[in-house]
């Protein structure tokens, strides 16, 4: 009797494990049909005007018009980590994010590359307290940025290495916060500094914070954001991927040619505020330059490899982008 009950229980446990295994396998396989455009497509980016080219593509419905049979979903996620997770799990097909997560993921075996870099961006280290003037003043202070693997975190370490002689000198102070929260925290004095990005650095400057350092000083002009897909996705949907690259090129051209119109698009996307003019000022600010040409990827990789954030090095910038980007002569 007892033995039978035990046996039954064991069988139940085994069945459950097998069922779960099968389920996991099924979930992993479900993606899209091989060849041609995908049946379903999820594109994810984060808040910020750095993603303006994608917002234009979304607003103009270029992809939807080209592939009417494809079900397309646009997602705005608060963190780069959420986008990384989504791409790894296969829930997100096109994910947009900074150079930091791209390189961390690439080095750890996430089979992804930039299908289209979006811009170069000068990232500013902001402080509000007038007594904090230089990087040396930041020892023991609390510095907000999106995450310890973000491009901002790598920039901070470079600054620490150059100015303080130790890349990890300011690590203790790193606080993970998304930019809108960090801006509030900086302005209300809860944190001491914020390594941020456009447009938050512009807004903070207007509201009384000052710039301590700029990323271009340490890395030269460098790529900031880009749209990533996996090698598998690129292989299966090569035509779609190439078209996506062309869409980004077209959107960037529109931003350059007609910033007023793009500002309107961005304002509508943001729900009506701030003003049109504000958006135009931001997208025309030289701290942010929209381009599909990757710059400084290898320099970033070398630095991250040196401080132990990544364990392997790309042999060339081409290893981090797909063929449509090759003609841009990046670095």
């Amino acid at each position: 009797m007892k033995r039978i009950a035990n046996g039954r229980r064991l069988a139940l446990a085994l069945t459950t494990i097998l069922a779960l295994t099968g389920l996991a396998a099924t979930v992993a396989l479900a993606g899209g049909s091989p060849g041609g455009p995908p049946d379903k497509l999820v594109i994810a980016y984060q808040p910020g005007i750095g993603y303006a080219p994608l917002i234009v593509i979304k607003d103009q419905r270029w992809i939807e018009k080209r592939y009417p049979g494809t079900q397309i979903e646009w997602k705005v996620l608060a963190s780069g980590a959420a986008i990384t997770d989504g791409v790894i799990k296969g829930d997100i097909h096109v994910g947009a994010g900074g150079v930091g997560p791209l390189l961390v993921g690439w080095a750890r075996g996430v089979d992804w590359k930039y299908i289209a870099p979006l811009n170069e961006g000068d990232l500013w280290l902001m402080a509000k307290d007038p007594s904090i003037k230089t990087i040396e003043d930041l020892r023991g202070k609390r510095i907000a940025m999106p995450s310890p693997t973000s491009i901002q975190a790598m920039v901070l370490r470079k600054m620490a290495q150059v100015k303080l002689g130790d890349a990890k000198a300011l690590d203790r102070g790193i606080i993970s916060m998304d930019h809108p929260d960090a801006m509030q925290a900086l302005l209300s004095g809860q944190i001491d500094a914020h390594l941020t990005s456009p447009p938050f650095q512009f807004q903070e400057k207007v509201r009384g914070a000052h710039v301590i350092a700029r990323s271009y000083t340490y890395f030269g002009a460098h790529s900031f954001l880009g749209a990533m897909v996996t090698q598998k996705f690129y292989d299966e949907h090569t035509a779609f991927s190439k078209a996506l690259y062309q869409d980004v090129v077209r959107a960037i051209a529109l931003i350059e040619k007609n910033p007023d119109r793009v500002a309107k698009i961005l304002q509508a996307d943001a729900g009506g505020s701030p003003t049109n003019r504000q958006f135009k000022q931001w997208i025309t600010n030289p701290a942010l330059k929209y381009t599909t040409r990757p710059r400084g990827l290898v320099r970033f990789a070398a630095f991250m490899n040196r401080i132990g954030a990544i364990s392997r090095m790309p042999s060339s910038w081409r290893e981090l982008v797909f063929p449509p980007v090759y003609p841009t002569k990046g670095s």
Binding site: N6, A24, T84, I88, P148, R172, S176, Q190
Partner: protein
């Protein structure tokens, strides 16, 4: 009555007492049963990972986890994170216990204190510890004090409820005996009420530990203190950000081991006190060989 021994009765008596038949598994000692089960689970886990070709960015093999675990202990990152977490937790529970003691004394001595405790407990106890974190961050800033506040808040209430109940349910006779043998009020509290309420106090501390432990890990996951100040929750989160999945698992294993360790400490404490004194029955988990 009559000693007329029928053959049936004779055999029934002469036959040795039949032990209930146990199947092979149940006859093994408890530690072996659990070790075997654990080994089987780990084996299944390894088999799943090796046969199924799972994405190493989503799931780690036991082998990789073991390596990450050993490396983490060797290079000092896991012990440092563990120490940070345990230190903050101990301090938080200490503060919680102190506040709980004050509240309990107040509640035991006065009716208004009792009402206050009932009110505060019914409002604040159901709040998940982490829910208070945003407010704590606002009040204390992004530092350890916010964590301490959250832990203290998560631990005050279970301790206060249990100790108050313990004091209130002390058998009046034993208190009368205490007064009868000539104890002062102070010694009545320390020598009679406190030991008599010990089972409740231990339950309170156990609950506080469980709440505090869950709360601090959750809070550290949310709370972005970095670098050398990060505890286990931060360790796990950081490992995840760097996509070091075996380290994520190693962090979880550390948490599980610590959990078992603390349970064991409380178990020993209980066996040496309230179980030994017959104030609490022995939990019938690790009993011998019944099938």
């Amino acid at each position: 009555m009559q000693s007329s021994s029928s053959p049936a009765a004779a055999t029934a008596l002469s036959e040795p007492l039949r032990r209930p038949r146990v199947v092979g598994w149940g006859r093994l000692p408890a530690w072996l049963r659990f070790t075997l089960l654990l080994a089987a689970l780990v084996g299944l886990w390894q088999a799943y990972v090796s046969l199924k070709d799972v994405n190493p960015l989503l799931f780690a093999s036991p082998r990789a986890v073991a390596e990450a675990f050993v490396d983490g202990w060797r290079d000092g990152t896991i012990p440092r994170a563990t120490w940070t977490t345990v230190k903050v937790l101990a301090l938080g529970i200490g503060i919680g216990a102190l506040v709980a003691a004050v509240l309990t004394v107040f509640a035991t001595l006065t009716k208004i204190g009792d009402d206050l405790l009932v009110l505060l407990t019914s409002i604040l106890n159901p709040l998940p510890g982490v829910a208070v974190l945003p407010l704590a961050l606002l009040w204390f800033g992004l530092n350890t004090n916010a964590l301490l506040f959250v832990i203290a808040n998560a631990t005050i209430w279970p301790i206060a409820i249990n100790v108050t109940t313990g004091f209130r349910t002390v058998n009046p006779t034993i208190v009368a005996v205490g007064r009868n043998i000539g104890l002062s009020s102070r010694r009545l509290v320390t020598d009679v009420l406190a030991p008599a309420a010990l089972p409740h106090t231990i339950s309170g501390l156990k609950a506080a530990w469980a709440f505090g432990w869950r709360t601090i890990i959750a809070a550290e996951l949310v709370f972005g203190v970095s670098g050398a100040d990060g505890g286990l929750g931060f360790y796990i989160n950081n490992a995840k950000l760097y996509l070091r999945i075996p380290q994520v698992f190693a962090g979880l294993v550390t948490i599980a081991i610590l959990g078992v360790l603390f349970e064991t400490v409380f178990g020993v404490l209980e066996r040496r006190t309230v179980v030994r004194w017959g104030m609490k029955t022995v939990p019938a988990t690790s009993g011998g060989g019944e099938g």
